[in-house]
Protein backbone atom coordinates (compact mmCIF):
# COMPACT_ATOMS: atom_id res chain seq x y z
CA UNK A 1 0.00 0.00 0.00
CA UNK A 2 1.41 3.41 -0.88
CA UNK A 3 2.07 5.89 1.90
CA UNK A 4 -0.42 8.79 1.98
CA UNK A 5 0.94 12.34 1.62
CA UNK A 6 -0.64 13.41 4.90
CA UNK A 7 0.07 11.56 8.15
CA UNK A 8 -2.03 12.63 11.16
CA UNK A 9 0.91 11.88 13.47
CA UNK A 10 2.96 14.59 11.65
CA UNK A 11 0.91 17.26 13.42
CA UNK A 12 2.70 16.34 16.66
CA UNK A 13 5.99 17.17 14.92
CA UNK A 14 4.94 20.69 13.92
CA UNK A 15 7.25 22.22 16.52
CA UNK A 16 10.22 20.55 14.84
CA UNK A 17 10.20 23.13 12.01
CA UNK A 18 12.28 25.32 14.33
CA UNK A 19 15.13 22.80 14.13
CA UNK A 20 16.05 23.86 10.60
CA UNK A 21 15.44 27.56 11.10
CA UNK A 22 15.40 28.32 14.78
CA UNK A 23 14.95 32.08 14.83
CA UNK A 24 12.19 32.23 12.22
CA UNK A 25 10.48 29.15 13.70
CA UNK A 26 10.49 30.62 17.19
CA UNK A 27 9.23 33.97 15.96
CA UNK A 28 6.39 32.22 14.15
CA UNK A 29 5.36 30.19 17.21
CA UNK A 30 5.57 33.22 19.51
CA UNK A 31 3.34 35.13 17.10
CA UNK A 32 1.00 32.14 16.69
CA UNK A 33 0.64 31.72 20.44
CA UNK A 34 -0.01 35.43 20.94
CA UNK A 35 -2.68 35.51 18.22
CA UNK A 36 -4.73 32.84 19.96
CA UNK A 37 -4.63 34.43 23.40
CA UNK A 38 -7.78 35.96 24.83
CA UNK A 39 -8.00 39.53 23.48
CA UNK A 40 -10.75 41.68 21.99
CA UNK A 41 -12.03 38.32 20.77
CA UNK A 42 -12.39 35.39 23.15
CA UNK A 43 -10.19 32.34 22.65
CA UNK A 44 -13.40 30.46 21.85
CA UNK A 45 -14.30 32.88 19.04
CA UNK A 46 -10.77 32.63 17.67
CA UNK A 47 -10.99 28.87 17.69
CA UNK A 48 -14.15 28.97 15.56
CA UNK A 49 -12.55 31.40 13.09
CA UNK A 50 -9.52 29.10 12.88
CA UNK A 51 -11.79 26.12 12.26
CA UNK A 52 -13.57 27.87 9.39
CA UNK A 53 -10.27 29.01 7.84
CA UNK A 54 -8.82 25.50 8.30
CA UNK A 55 -11.59 24.29 6.00
CA UNK A 56 -11.26 26.98 3.37
CA UNK A 57 -7.49 26.32 3.37
CA UNK A 58 -8.30 22.59 3.25
CA UNK A 59 -5.54 21.84 5.74
CA UNK A 60 -6.17 18.43 7.32
CA UNK A 61 -3.78 19.14 10.20
CA UNK A 62 -5.55 22.41 11.00
CA UNK A 63 -8.96 20.75 10.77
CA UNK A 64 -7.88 18.08 13.29
CA UNK A 65 -6.28 20.68 15.56
CA UNK A 66 -9.14 23.18 15.61
CA UNK A 67 -11.92 20.59 15.82
CA UNK A 68 -10.24 19.37 18.99
CA UNK A 69 -9.55 22.89 20.19
CA UNK A 70 -13.21 23.86 19.62
CA UNK A 71 -14.41 20.81 21.56
CA UNK A 72 -12.06 21.73 24.40
CA UNK A 73 -13.65 25.16 24.55
CA UNK A 74 -17.15 23.71 24.79
CA UNK A 75 -18.13 24.59 21.21
CA UNK A 76 -21.09 22.50 19.99
CA UNK A 77 -21.09 20.61 16.71
CA UNK A 78 -23.88 22.88 15.43
CA UNK A 79 -21.69 25.93 16.05
CA UNK A 80 -18.76 24.25 14.33
CA UNK A 81 -20.81 23.38 11.24
CA UNK A 82 -22.22 26.90 11.03
CA UNK A 83 -18.70 28.32 11.19
CA UNK A 84 -17.69 26.07 8.27
CA UNK A 85 -20.69 27.30 6.30
CA UNK A 86 -19.46 30.85 6.85
CA UNK A 87 -16.13 29.82 5.34
CA UNK A 88 -17.87 27.99 2.51
CA UNK A 89 -20.14 30.96 1.80
CA UNK A 90 -17.18 33.33 1.53
CA UNK A 91 -15.30 30.82 -0.61
CA UNK A 92 -18.22 30.35 -3.02
CA UNK A 93 -19.06 34.04 -2.88
CA UNK A 94 -15.47 34.82 -3.82
CA UNK A 95 -15.87 32.56 -6.84
CA UNK A 96 -19.25 33.93 -7.86
CA UNK A 97 -18.39 37.60 -7.41
CA UNK A 98 -15.83 37.09 -10.20
CA UNK A 99 -18.87 36.37 -12.36
CA UNK A 100 -19.27 40.14 -12.51
CA UNK A 101 -15.83 40.38 -14.08
CA UNK A 102 -16.86 37.76 -16.61
CA UNK A 103 -20.04 39.70 -17.33
CA UNK A 104 -18.05 42.93 -17.75
CA UNK A 105 -15.70 41.23 -20.19
CA UNK A 106 -18.55 39.67 -22.17
CA UNK A 107 -20.29 43.04 -22.37
CA UNK A 108 -17.08 44.71 -23.56
CA UNK A 109 -16.17 42.08 -26.12
CA UNK A 110 -19.59 41.09 -27.36
CA UNK A 111 -21.75 44.08 -26.63
Amino acid sequence: MSKPYYDAADLRKFGKITEWSEELGNKFFDYYGKVFEEGALTAREKSLIALAVAHTEQCPYCIDAYTKDSLQRGVTKEEMMEAIHVGAAIKSGATLVHGVQMMNKVNKLDG
Binding site: R12, E38, T42, A43, R44, K68, L71, Q72, R73, G74, T76
Partner: protein, 353 residues
Protein backbone atom coordinates in the same frame (compact mmCIF):
# COMPACT_ATOMS: atom_id res chain seq x y z
CA UNK B 1 -26.74 8.71 23.79
CA UNK B 2 -24.48 7.09 26.37
CA UNK B 3 -23.59 3.67 25.03
CA UNK B 4 -22.85 1.84 28.29
CA UNK B 5 -25.65 0.08 30.14
CA UNK B 6 -23.51 -2.22 32.28
CA UNK B 7 -20.23 -1.70 34.11
CA UNK B 8 -17.08 -3.18 32.57
CA UNK B 9 -17.01 -5.50 35.56
CA UNK B 10 -20.50 -6.82 34.80
CA UNK B 11 -19.59 -7.20 31.13
CA UNK B 12 -16.59 -9.32 32.18
CA UNK B 13 -14.30 -6.95 30.26
CA UNK B 14 -10.52 -7.39 30.61
CA UNK B 15 -10.32 -3.69 31.41
CA UNK B 16 -12.34 -4.21 34.59
CA UNK B 17 -9.09 -5.60 35.99
CA UNK B 18 -6.76 -2.97 37.34
CA UNK B 19 -3.62 -4.95 36.41
CA UNK B 20 -4.71 -4.96 32.75
CA UNK B 21 -5.17 -1.19 32.84
CA UNK B 22 -1.76 -0.70 34.45
CA UNK B 23 -0.21 -2.98 31.82
CA UNK B 24 -1.61 -0.82 29.02
CA UNK B 25 -0.40 2.35 30.76
CA UNK B 26 3.13 0.94 31.10
CA UNK B 27 3.55 -0.71 27.70
CA UNK B 28 3.50 0.56 24.11
CA UNK B 29 4.49 4.19 23.70
CA UNK B 30 5.80 4.38 27.27
CA UNK B 31 7.81 1.17 27.01
CA UNK B 32 9.43 1.92 23.66
CA UNK B 33 10.51 5.38 24.79
CA UNK B 34 8.25 7.30 22.39
CA UNK B 35 6.87 9.12 25.42
CA UNK B 36 8.55 9.55 28.83
CA UNK B 37 7.02 7.76 31.79
CA UNK B 38 5.53 9.98 34.50
CA UNK B 39 8.42 9.06 36.77
CA UNK B 40 10.97 10.19 34.15
CA UNK B 41 9.05 13.40 33.54
CA UNK B 42 8.81 14.49 37.17
CA UNK B 43 12.43 13.48 37.72
CA UNK B 44 13.46 16.08 35.11
CA UNK B 45 12.33 18.79 37.53
CA UNK B 46 13.57 16.93 40.63
CA UNK B 47 9.99 16.24 41.76
CA UNK B 48 10.47 12.49 42.16
CA UNK B 49 9.59 10.93 44.50
CA UNK B 50 6.37 12.83 44.91
CA UNK B 51 5.79 13.24 48.65
CA UNK B 52 2.59 13.64 50.64
CA UNK B 53 2.31 16.89 52.57
CA UNK B 54 0.04 17.66 55.51
CA UNK B 55 -3.38 16.02 55.17
CA UNK B 56 -6.09 18.50 54.16
CA UNK B 57 -8.77 16.40 52.46
CA UNK B 58 -10.33 13.11 53.52
CA UNK B 59 -12.17 11.67 50.54
CA UNK B 60 -14.40 8.72 51.33
CA UNK B 61 -15.87 6.55 48.60
CA UNK B 62 -18.99 5.05 50.20
CA UNK B 63 -19.67 2.67 47.31
CA UNK B 64 -19.53 2.09 43.58
CA UNK B 65 -23.29 1.72 43.09
CA UNK B 66 -24.82 4.42 40.91
CA UNK B 67 -28.11 5.12 39.16
CA UNK B 68 -26.16 6.18 36.04
CA UNK B 69 -23.70 4.41 33.75
CA UNK B 70 -21.71 7.34 32.38
CA UNK B 71 -19.48 6.66 29.38
CA UNK B 72 -16.28 7.86 30.97
CA UNK B 73 -16.68 6.91 34.62
CA UNK B 74 -13.30 6.27 36.23
CA UNK B 75 -15.02 4.25 38.96
CA UNK B 76 -16.80 1.96 36.47
CA UNK B 77 -19.85 2.66 38.63
CA UNK B 78 -23.40 1.60 37.85
CA UNK B 79 -26.55 -0.04 39.21
CA UNK B 80 -24.84 -3.44 38.97
CA UNK B 81 -21.98 -2.54 41.32
CA UNK B 82 -22.56 -3.98 44.78
CA UNK B 83 -19.49 -2.67 46.61
CA UNK B 84 -20.99 -0.57 49.41
CA UNK B 85 -19.42 0.76 52.61
CA UNK B 86 -20.89 -0.89 55.71
CA UNK B 87 -21.92 0.96 58.85
CA UNK B 88 -19.02 -0.71 60.69
CA UNK B 89 -16.50 0.79 58.27
CA UNK B 90 -18.33 4.12 58.51
CA UNK B 91 -17.90 3.99 62.30
CA UNK B 92 -14.17 3.54 61.79
CA UNK B 93 -14.19 6.51 59.42
CA UNK B 94 -16.07 8.60 62.01
CA UNK B 95 -13.31 7.97 64.55
CA UNK B 96 -10.82 9.37 62.04
CA UNK B 97 -13.09 12.28 61.09
CA UNK B 98 -13.37 13.31 64.77
CA UNK B 99 -9.61 13.43 65.19
CA UNK B 100 -8.23 14.49 61.84
CA UNK B 101 -6.49 17.77 61.12
CA UNK B 102 -8.03 17.76 57.62
CA UNK B 103 -10.25 20.74 56.82
CA UNK B 104 -12.30 19.01 54.10
CA UNK B 105 -14.41 15.88 54.15
CA UNK B 106 -15.43 14.74 50.67
CA UNK B 107 -17.99 11.96 50.16
CA UNK B 108 -18.08 10.34 46.75
CA UNK B 109 -19.17 7.17 44.97
CA UNK B 110 -20.93 5.96 42.72
CA UNK B 111 -23.91 7.86 43.89
CA UNK B 112 -23.13 8.20 47.62
CA UNK B 113 -26.82 8.78 48.39
CA UNK B 114 -27.57 5.18 47.33
CA UNK B 115 -25.67 3.77 50.29
CA UNK B 116 -28.46 2.81 52.74
CA UNK B 117 -26.46 4.31 55.61
CA UNK B 118 -25.64 7.55 53.77
CA UNK B 119 -27.94 9.81 55.81
CA UNK B 120 -26.89 8.32 59.11
CA UNK B 121 -23.24 8.77 58.14
CA UNK B 122 -23.75 12.41 57.06
CA UNK B 123 -25.61 13.23 60.30
CA UNK B 124 -22.85 11.69 62.41
CA UNK B 125 -19.98 13.14 60.38
CA UNK B 126 -21.52 16.64 60.42
CA UNK B 127 -21.21 16.62 64.23
CA UNK B 128 -17.41 16.64 63.88
CA UNK B 129 -17.69 20.20 62.55
CA UNK B 130 -15.23 19.84 59.69
CA UNK B 131 -14.96 23.18 57.88
CA UNK B 132 -15.91 22.01 54.39
CA UNK B 133 -18.17 18.96 54.10
CA UNK B 134 -18.61 17.98 50.43
CA UNK B 135 -21.04 15.50 48.92
CA UNK B 136 -20.48 14.67 45.25
CA UNK B 137 -24.01 14.31 43.97
CA UNK B 138 -24.74 13.35 40.37
CA UNK B 139 -27.95 15.48 40.48
CA UNK B 140 -30.21 12.91 38.78
CA UNK B 141 -30.33 10.90 42.01
CA UNK B 142 -32.41 13.74 43.50
CA UNK B 143 -35.08 13.02 40.86
CA UNK B 144 -34.53 9.22 40.64
CA UNK B 145 -36.99 8.15 43.31
CA UNK B 146 -39.39 9.76 45.80
CA UNK B 147 -37.16 8.76 48.70
CA UNK B 148 -34.50 11.14 47.37
CA UNK B 149 -36.76 14.14 46.66
CA UNK B 150 -35.92 15.78 49.99
CA UNK B 151 -32.15 15.61 49.48
CA UNK B 152 -31.80 19.38 48.86
CA UNK B 153 -33.39 20.05 52.29
CA UNK B 154 -31.28 17.31 53.88
CA UNK B 155 -28.09 18.79 52.41
CA UNK B 156 -29.13 22.24 53.62
CA UNK B 157 -29.84 21.01 57.13
CA UNK B 158 -26.29 19.71 57.46
CA UNK B 159 -24.67 22.59 55.58
CA UNK B 160 -23.32 20.24 52.93
CA UNK B 161 -21.24 21.66 50.10
CA UNK B 162 -22.79 20.09 46.98
CA UNK B 163 -20.49 19.35 44.05
CA UNK B 164 -22.22 18.00 40.95
CA UNK B 165 -21.25 16.83 37.49
CA UNK B 166 -22.59 18.73 34.52
CA UNK B 167 -20.76 17.92 31.28
CA UNK B 168 -22.32 20.69 29.20
CA UNK B 169 -25.03 23.34 29.11
CA UNK B 170 -26.69 21.62 26.16
CA UNK B 171 -28.94 18.56 26.29
CA UNK B 172 -27.20 16.75 23.42
CA UNK B 173 -23.69 16.76 24.85
CA UNK B 174 -24.83 15.96 28.37
CA UNK B 175 -27.05 13.02 27.42
CA UNK B 176 -24.41 11.63 25.07
CA UNK B 177 -22.00 11.25 27.97
CA UNK B 178 -24.33 10.48 30.85
CA UNK B 179 -27.42 8.86 29.34
CA UNK B 180 -30.78 9.82 27.88
CA UNK B 181 -32.83 12.16 30.06
CA UNK B 182 -29.90 13.05 32.34
CA UNK B 183 -29.83 16.69 31.20
CA UNK B 184 -33.51 17.38 31.98
CA UNK B 185 -33.29 15.67 35.37
CA UNK B 186 -30.07 17.53 36.20
CA UNK B 187 -31.67 20.87 35.32
CA UNK B 188 -34.68 20.09 37.51
CA UNK B 189 -32.38 19.04 40.38
CA UNK B 190 -30.32 22.25 40.05
CA UNK B 191 -33.51 24.32 40.15
CA UNK B 192 -34.56 22.50 43.32
CA UNK B 193 -31.15 23.12 44.90
CA UNK B 194 -31.45 26.81 43.95
CA UNK B 195 -34.95 26.90 45.46
CA UNK B 196 -33.62 26.00 48.93
CA UNK B 197 -30.78 28.52 48.57
CA UNK B 198 -27.95 26.48 47.05
CA UNK B 199 -25.69 28.26 44.59
CA UNK B 200 -27.34 31.65 45.00
CA UNK B 201 -25.09 34.74 44.98
CA UNK B 202 -23.89 35.43 48.50
CA UNK B 203 -25.34 32.17 49.83
CA UNK B 204 -23.27 30.06 52.22
CA UNK B 205 -24.88 26.97 50.72
CA UNK B 206 -22.16 26.10 48.22
CA UNK B 207 -23.12 24.57 44.90
CA UNK B 208 -20.26 23.91 42.49
CA UNK B 209 -20.38 22.13 39.17
CA UNK B 210 -17.84 19.77 37.70
CA UNK B 211 -17.15 19.80 33.99
CA UNK B 212 -15.24 16.99 32.36
CA UNK B 213 -14.90 16.68 28.58
CA UNK B 214 -17.30 14.40 26.72
CA UNK B 215 -14.56 12.85 24.58
CA UNK B 216 -10.86 12.39 23.87
CA UNK B 217 -9.81 15.97 24.49
CA UNK B 218 -8.66 18.06 27.44
CA UNK B 219 -10.81 20.59 29.25
CA UNK B 220 -10.59 24.21 28.15
CA UNK B 221 -9.77 27.15 30.38
CA UNK B 222 -11.74 26.77 33.64
CA UNK B 223 -12.61 30.47 34.00
CA UNK B 224 -13.82 30.77 30.39
CA UNK B 225 -15.88 27.58 30.70
CA UNK B 226 -17.41 28.84 33.95
CA UNK B 227 -18.45 32.05 32.24
CA UNK B 228 -20.08 30.13 29.36
CA UNK B 229 -21.84 27.71 31.75
CA UNK B 230 -23.15 30.55 33.93
CA UNK B 231 -24.46 32.53 30.99
CA UNK B 232 -26.20 29.57 29.33
CA UNK B 233 -27.69 28.04 32.50
CA UNK B 234 -29.01 31.43 33.63
CA UNK B 235 -30.41 32.46 30.24
CA UNK B 236 -31.99 29.10 29.43
CA UNK B 237 -33.12 27.87 32.85
CA UNK B 238 -32.58 30.64 35.44
CA UNK B 239 -30.02 28.48 37.25
CA UNK B 240 -27.31 29.86 39.55
CA UNK B 241 -24.21 28.10 40.86
CA UNK B 242 -20.96 29.19 42.47
CA UNK B 243 -17.92 27.75 40.72
CA UNK B 244 -17.14 25.39 37.90
CA UNK B 245 -14.34 22.84 38.34
CA UNK B 246 -12.82 21.71 35.04
CA UNK B 247 -11.52 18.18 35.47
CA UNK B 248 -9.42 16.17 33.03
CA UNK B 249 -10.53 12.61 32.22
CA UNK B 250 -7.88 10.22 33.43
CA UNK B 251 -7.09 7.28 31.14
CA UNK B 252 -8.43 4.53 33.36
CA UNK B 253 -11.52 2.28 33.54
CA UNK B 254 -14.34 3.20 31.14
CA UNK B 255 -12.53 6.22 29.72
CA UNK B 256 -9.51 4.04 28.92
CA UNK B 257 -11.87 1.52 27.32
CA UNK B 258 -13.35 4.34 25.19
CA UNK B 259 -9.89 5.64 24.20
CA UNK B 260 -8.78 2.23 23.03
CA UNK B 261 -12.04 1.33 21.25
CA UNK B 262 -12.11 4.69 19.43
CA UNK B 263 -8.37 4.48 18.57
CA UNK B 264 -7.70 7.70 20.47
CA UNK B 265 -5.46 6.27 23.18
CA UNK B 266 -2.06 7.29 21.75
CA UNK B 267 -3.19 10.75 20.69
CA UNK B 268 -4.74 11.36 24.08
CA UNK B 269 -1.59 10.31 25.91
CA UNK B 270 0.43 12.60 23.62
CA UNK B 271 -1.94 15.46 24.49
CA UNK B 272 -1.50 14.82 28.21
CA UNK B 273 2.28 14.60 28.00
CA UNK B 274 2.55 17.68 25.75
CA UNK B 275 0.41 19.65 28.21
CA UNK B 276 2.53 18.52 31.20
CA UNK B 277 2.99 21.40 33.61
CA UNK B 278 5.58 21.05 36.41
CA UNK B 279 3.80 23.82 38.36
CA UNK B 280 0.71 21.60 38.55
CA UNK B 281 2.80 18.81 40.11
CA UNK B 282 3.47 21.05 43.12
CA UNK B 283 -0.20 21.11 44.09
CA UNK B 284 -1.48 17.83 42.77
CA UNK B 285 -4.27 16.56 45.02
CA UNK B 286 -2.65 13.29 46.11
CA UNK B 287 -0.17 15.35 48.10
CA UNK B 288 -2.84 16.62 50.50
CA UNK B 289 -5.55 13.94 50.22
CA UNK B 290 -6.29 10.46 51.48
CA UNK B 291 -8.84 8.43 49.58
CA UNK B 292 -10.69 5.75 51.55
CA UNK B 293 -12.38 2.90 49.70
CA UNK B 294 -15.75 1.32 50.50
CA UNK B 295 -13.92 -1.47 52.37
CA UNK B 296 -11.74 0.93 54.35
CA UNK B 297 -8.42 0.76 52.50
CA UNK B 298 -6.32 3.89 52.01
CA UNK B 299 -5.14 5.32 48.69
CA UNK B 300 -3.38 8.45 47.44
CA UNK B 301 -6.42 9.38 45.33
CA UNK B 302 -9.70 7.99 43.97
CA UNK B 303 -7.92 7.02 40.72
CA UNK B 304 -5.30 4.95 42.53
CA UNK B 305 -8.16 3.37 44.46
CA UNK B 306 -9.72 2.22 41.19
CA UNK B 307 -6.33 0.94 39.99
CA UNK B 308 -5.91 -0.88 43.33
CA UNK B 309 -2.63 0.90 44.06
CA UNK B 310 -2.62 1.19 47.88
CA UNK B 311 -0.74 3.88 49.82
CA UNK B 312 2.95 3.32 50.34
CA UNK B 313 2.72 3.40 54.13
CA UNK B 314 2.40 1.09 57.11
CA UNK B 315 -0.98 2.72 57.73
CA UNK B 316 -2.98 0.98 55.01
CA UNK B 317 -6.50 0.69 56.42
CA UNK B 318 -8.92 3.02 58.19
CA UNK B 319 -8.70 0.74 61.25
CA UNK B 320 -5.00 1.62 61.59
CA UNK B 321 -5.20 5.22 60.30
CA UNK B 322 -2.18 7.24 61.37
CA UNK B 323 -1.96 10.77 60.03
CA UNK B 324 1.66 11.21 61.11
CA UNK B 325 2.76 8.02 59.39
CA UNK B 326 0.93 8.98 56.19
CA UNK B 327 2.51 12.42 55.98
CA UNK B 328 5.68 12.32 53.92
CA UNK B 329 4.82 9.00 52.25
CA UNK B 330 5.92 8.48 48.66
CA UNK B 331 2.96 8.84 46.31
CA UNK B 332 2.33 5.82 44.09
CA UNK B 333 2.45 6.93 40.45
CA UNK B 334 1.88 5.60 36.94
CA UNK B 335 1.15 7.16 33.55
CA UNK B 336 -2.47 8.00 34.48
CA UNK B 337 -0.97 10.73 36.72
CA UNK B 338 -0.33 12.82 33.59
CA UNK B 339 -4.08 13.53 33.74
CA UNK B 340 -3.63 15.63 36.88
CA UNK B 341 -0.61 17.60 35.62
CA UNK B 342 -1.83 18.65 32.17
CA UNK B 343 -2.29 22.36 31.51
CA UNK B 344 -3.56 24.12 34.59
CA UNK B 345 -3.68 20.74 36.34
CA UNK B 346 -6.71 18.83 37.52
CA UNK B 347 -8.08 17.75 40.86
CA UNK B 348 -11.45 17.06 42.46
CA UNK B 349 -11.44 20.82 43.20
CA UNK B 350 -10.62 21.76 39.60
CA UNK B 351 -7.41 23.39 38.39
CA UNK B 352 -4.38 23.48 40.69
CA UNK B 353 -1.82 25.68 38.89
Amino acid sequence: MATATKSLKKQGSDLAQSNKQLEILSNGIFQNGELPTFKTKISETSQFPLKAKKLEILQINVGYMCNQVCDHCHVDAGPDRKEIMTRDTMRQCLEVIKNTGAHTLDLTGGAPEMNPDFRWFVEEAAKAGIKDFIVRSNLTIIRANKKYYDLPEFFKKHNIHVVSSMPHWTRGKTDKQRGDGVFDKSIKALQELNAVGYGMPGSDLRLDLVYNPSGAFLPGDQAAMEKDFKKALMEDFGIEFHNLFAITNLPIARFLDFLIASENYEDYMYSLVEAYNPAAVENVMCTNTISISWDGYLFDCDFNQMLELPVNSKSKHISEFNEELLEGRNIVISQHCYGCTAGAGSSCQGVVA
